[in-house]
Symmetry: D2
């Protein structure tokens, strides 16, 4: 496994009066995809938090290439593309059934932090696992 | 003052592909209106939480009578309609500029709780103030 | 089948600073559950809309019995409990892994409407199917 | 006027269980700020849509520098930083009372489009007005 595919359907409440998904909601999907990425490689992000390790977002970007609508089946293809001392970068491709190209691409950068938002080093066990998993989409 | 009027505009992201406000977002407005209701009578709900007094929702209802759309100017007319030992009931009328009748009505019931969600008695100072303010819309 | 079980995980963005799911988001889950309920009995709500048949919410209620947190696996047990000339009533039980009782219960009432929000009669084919499926949780 | 200041308070539902504002909600604020920016220079975005001119987002970015919490009073300082044939770029500084530096910065790029998401030229009247208003924060 290099990437992880998180599948979901566009909820009604995720659309707006333009008839398509509201732009901020892609970031909600990215977050759900990160949770499942961690689970897929054997970590529960909820457990990190119980140990006082938070992963707040430092940077978030999305490029919107084609819209998607209510009930569309979409896939968030997710990979960790960079591992640093105290940060991680995720990249995302949003795929829609029937479209050969991504309908959106994006990234988020996260800093390992304690509850006071001071940086922490990445847990060694997670780092090793991510390096094993690989960094390409 | 018996009631408090919280004014806001419908945000684009609060609408859905039916072209009108998504039903769950009325509850978000109710919550913003509660915050401003407390402020209007001299309390900051954020301060309650710092003291370990939470007000989770036990019951929530909304009746939708007419839709509202992006950028509509709306008013959430808010009143505390019932005060009990450890609970409060808020009632809401959603008003839209140009409509004589409410476009929605609703209520929420809240239980004073500690951080473990065990019931607490209503703070005496708040109770006195609410009784002074009055309970009718 | 009488009821339909929609399973999802609590997303990070669905929680609030009380540490548990924000109350309005239960209604988002109810909506996702309705979509899957329709699909389970052979209808796509998105298709109704393409034919000009909308199902706006007229009434929504939720009772919150116990909280749920980020990443909790929950089930929205969904049933149509009432079928009228031009309306439907859904009831929901929110179940959490490890809890014997529902952590929340709720209902929504929907009116079959055209694009101008004028009531329509329930499509005959849907009515027959719902009666066949049954109305008890 | 070069920039426009949109003021709002962090709503409870905009926070998450990290105790601070959920990252996707900054984009919701950016959108509310755009609406008020247009109004401040004499245009109603809702009117554009009635004329069949949409402004979907093509690109969105946010850098998170410091967190903000429930009930914090924040300002979204908003400017149009680039005007092209059929696109606009907005930049945003999120300011918090008591903080000298922005707690977040971001941008969005929008493409003038018809209802089928085909690009349109920017309306001449809007272009003239934006050039008059100026492009620096």
């Amino acid at each position: 496994m290099k990437h992880f595919d998180y599948r979901t359907r566009v909820r009604y409440g995720e659309t707006d009066c333009m008839g398509v998904t509201y732009y901020a909601n892609y970031f909600v999907w990215f977050e759900a995809a990160r949770t499942e990425y961690f689970r897929a490689i054997g970590f529960a992000y909820a457990e990190f938090e119980k140990q006082g390790i938070l992963l707040p977002v430092a940077d978030a970007h999305c490029r919107y290439l084609a819209p998607c609508s209510y009930d569309d089946l979409i896939t968030i293809r997710t990979v960790v593309s960079q591992i640093r001392q105290s940060s991680l970068r995720f990249e995302y491709h949003v795929l829609k059934a029937g479209c050969s190209k991504p309908i959106a691409t994006g990234y988020t950068v996260h800093v390992f932090s304690n509850r006071d938002f001071k940086p922490l080093r990445i847990p060694e066990e997670l780092k090793s696992k991510l390096e094993l998993v690989g960094l390409e989409l």
